[in-house]
């Protein structure tokens, strides 16, 4: 039985980063703090720091992704690690055995870290349980379960705009059922002390007993937006029209798409977020996505800093300390 949190080693340090669940508030704050100095690395003439020099990081993507993989790659390179990108078409591999066989092959090449994305929930946990003890695993998205670095970059972005988490009203809109991003955000927000997390969508896209994660469920976007501080729009996959989950994109936009009119119900200084890529005119109007309240591009930039922080912490050294000691050379 797997009951203990395998994400921490015996000394309580970050070993793997698989899901937000299982971390205490302080762990998350440490990661956010560690990311602060990295957030400015890109402004310097030399963007690299030597924290992970000599380390080999493998981007193991069983599911297509451009942005997430690129930001992980950039983060690793700015930490001076060597990066190997492997894209595996899951339909081409037979089943789980090949997944583990492949891992053991990669281990034999002396890698230090796997960044894993997979279309099945639990894939990153499975890999973390079976890799050699010196290897760290970072989950870059597994099925509908978890996408912890995305959630952390969202928290980082929120903190930069809102300072305190405690009294925020955060609204998450859309396909909660299939969203690993939403699940990780919910865990992160509640762990960091946000008192009111609202999830919004039709019942077909809200999973059973989601209240047990500490959120309030709304089926009407207007009601949910009242006095909101943060509005997070989720991407709507086109295939959701197939399984009788939704009637049409048009009706979805009418009911759950974020427009200027609806956004006026939120607080005047509310920020609008989206994990990307955006479906303009499906979940969000272009004028909002490109408008003054949107922090969508900031999220992408912050993604690099958060991933640098998580990578440097999992590979054994605290990011903030390392960057300070290496400040002269960077």
């Amino acid at each position: 039985m797997i009951s203990k949190n395998i994400q921490l080693d015996e000394q309580g340090r970050l070993k793997h980063f698989l899901s937000i669940e299982g971390f205490k508030r302080q762990h998350l704050v440490n990661i956010l703090d560690a990311a602060e100095p990295f957030a400015n690395v890109h402004e310097q003439a030399v963007k690299k720091v030597p924290i992970l020099r000599g380390k080999t990081i493998v981007n193991l993507f069983f599911e297509a992704s451009t942005r997430t993989r690129t930001t992980f790659e950039l983060a690793a390179k700015r930490l001076s690690a060597d990066v190997l990108n492997i894209n595996i078409n899951t339909s081409a591999t037979s089943k789980g055995e090949s997944l583990l066989d492949m891992l053991h092959n990669l281990e034999a090449m002396y890698c230090d870290m796997f960044i894993v994305r997979h279309n099945q929930s639990g894939a990153a946990h499975l890999i973390a349980q079976h890799v050699s003890p010196h290897i760290s695993v970072i989950n870059a998205g597994d099925g509908c379960h978890s996408h912890p670095t995305q959630a952390m970059l969202d928290m980082f972005t929120i903190r930069r705009h809102k300072k305190e988490f405690a009294h925020l009203k955060v609204v998450i809109v859309g396909d909660i059922l299939h969203s690993r991003v939403a699940r990780s955000q919910i865990h992160a927000l509640t762990t960091l002390g946000v008192t009111e997390v609202r999830v919004v969508g039709p019942k077909t896209l809200i999973p059973a007993h989601i209240e047990s994660l500490g959120v309030h469920v709304y089926h009407d976007l207007q009601t949910a937006l009242i006095d909101a501080d943060v509005v997070i729009m989720l991407r709507l996959q086109k295939e959701r029209m197939q399984g009788a989950l939704l009637p049409s994109e048009n009706e979805y936009f009418q009911q759950y798409g974020l427009t200027e009119k609806k956004l006026r119900l939120a607080k005047p200084d509310a920020i609008v977020m989206h994990p990307g890529p955006i479906n303009r005119g499906v979940e969000i109007a272009s004028s909002i996505a490109d408008g003054p309240q949107s922090v969508i591009l900031e999220q992408v930039t912050n993604g690099i800093a958060i991933r640098m922080a998580v990578m440097s912490q999992t590979l054994g050294r605290s990011g903030s300390e390392s960057i300070r000691s290496s400040g002269g050379t960077a």
């Binding site: 797997i2 055995e97 583990l100 099925g143 007993h209 989601i210």
Partner: protein
């Protein structure tokens, strides 16, 4: 395991005169629960209490401090992974069965090839008889190739030895076909075993609830079970068929079965030992050993299953034994094979009901012996004089720790690894021959 003497199936051919002495004999069929001796010869039980005058035992088994009961009968047991039920697995899995005190077991027809014609039964039976240490019964496919379209030759299959019929895990989608199948089965007095699951709501791998939501796993709602039960109860009433509902998983299912029984429908039901002791929470962080179908549900469901077992609404406990190679469980949760290697933990898990729910020992034994025998309409499950000498002897107070590596089954897939259980089989006798003994001295 050095302390276990394994006897080959060849030994089953011998039928020595055996006396089992000083044990507490429990035989629910004859309402016996007292300390007495029991004597076997030529594969049959010949006397309880004093031995006949002309009897001289070739072998004496001292069962002091132990329970002597009929060999257990397991209504749901797979002899290997689908398509891999070979001579080798029939030998290893029936050996695991007798180590768990099980002397007769019943396999579903969803093997590869599917048991939907008499020729298949004739192919399997000799294999099971020569290689099997325990008696292997089979159910026939309810519909051809389990496709839910055309009826199987269930009467011929019955005559060939099948003890019931079922569409196993494949729901019969058409209400009309299900009605006809039940009517046809009723015409030939064949019991229909029903695994109740709605075909449209069952595309998942865990109970739809807090845990599936937390882990992002596709859920199977309780209504997947209750919709199917409700439909089939109506059809049973219409057709007059005798039916047995397999592996109930939810409180609402127990309630539906109870109401139907009270209304006089000829139905029975079973529950797995693991559904009595595990819930959705045991999945933890994707423990694939807890991937079972039907899924483990909530604590409330678990409690209702236990109460249903105690009250008798649920008449049998099964292992739903499904041995898997290690690869089958080494994948992301949803991609792993469902099922538990359960036969060796069946008895102690069932016995836990005595301590947790104040069940009588004889009542627990009844649900592992007499009741499943009645459901299969077979003569086993009793210690009556003249009955086949299928006997389980166990120490009800022995504690042991489950170690998956020490399971005799080739499947090491148990979620009970590391659990301390009470109650250990010390000796199993099949047709009058010792087929399992946990001590060196017999």
């Amino acid at each position: 395991m050095p302390d276990i003497t394994q006897l080959t199936s060849a030994a089953a051919a011998n039928h020595p005169a055996i006396s089992i002495i000083n044990g507490r004999v429990i035989d629910p069929a004859n309402q016996i629960d007292q300390q007495m001796d029991i004597h076997l010869n030529n594969g049959k039980i010949i006397a309880l209490g004093n031995a006949p005058d002309d009897f001289s035992a070739q072998q004496v088994i001292d069962a002091s401090q132990k329970i002597v009961c009929p060999g257990l009968i397991d209504l749901r047991f797979r002899l290997g992974e689908r398509g891999y039920e070979t001579k080798r697995t029939i030998a290893s899995e029936t050996r695991a069965a007798v180590a768990g005190g099980v002397t007769a077991l019943c396999c579903p027809p969803d093997t590869d090839p599917i048991i939907d014609n008499a020729a298949m039964v004739k192919l399997i039976r000799p294999k099971a008889e020569t290689e099997g240490v325990a008696k292997v019964y089979t159910l026939s496919a309810l519909t051809q190739q389990l496709q839910g379209e055309k009826l199987s030759e269930m009467r011929e299959l019955k005559d060939a030895g099948c003890v019931g019929t079922t569409n196993a895990l494949q729901p019969v989608k058409s209400t009309l076909v299900m009605r006809r199948a039940l009517e046809y089965a009723a015409s030939h007095d064949i019991t229909v075993f029903i695994q109740a699951v709605d075909p449209w709501l069952s595309d998942g791998c865990a109970h739809e609830g807090a845990v599936s939501t937390r882990l992002g796993l596709a859920g199977i709602p309780v209504s997947a079970e209750t919709i199917a039960i409700s439909r089939d109860l109506q059809l049973i009433e219409l057709s007059g068929a005798k039916a047995h509902f397999c592996q109930l998983s939810s409180a609402k299912a127990v309630q539906l079965i109870q109401q139907a029984q009270e209304a006089g429908l000829p139905i029975t039901a079973d529950v797995t030992a693991h559904h009595l002791h595990l819930t959705e929470m045991d999945i933890g962080y994707f423990d694939s050993n807890c991937h079972v179908i039907p899924p483990l549900r909530t604590q409330r469901d678990q409690e209702a299953l236990r109460q249903g077992l105690k009250s008798g609404v649920i008449s049998s406990i099964v292992s739903d034994h499904q041995p898997h190679g290690s690869d089958a469980k080494l994948a992301p949760f949803a991609e792993t094979e469902a099922g538990i290697s359960g036969v060796e933990t069946l008895l102690p898990l069932a016995l836990k009901m005595i301590d947790t729910h104040d069940m009588q020992l004889s009542e627990v034994i009844k649900r592992l012996t007499l009741q499943p025998a009645k459901t299969l309409n077979i003569s086993e499950g009793t210690l009556s004089i003249g009955a086949a000498a299928d006997i389980c002897i166990f120490d009800p107070d022995a504690y042991w720790v489950v170690d998956r590596e020490k399971l005799l089954s080739q499947g090491k897939n148990t979620p009970f690894h590391g659990w301390e259980l009470k109650g250990k089989v010390t000796c199993t006798i099949k047709s009058g021959a010792v087929v399992f003994a946990a001590e060196k001295k017999l």
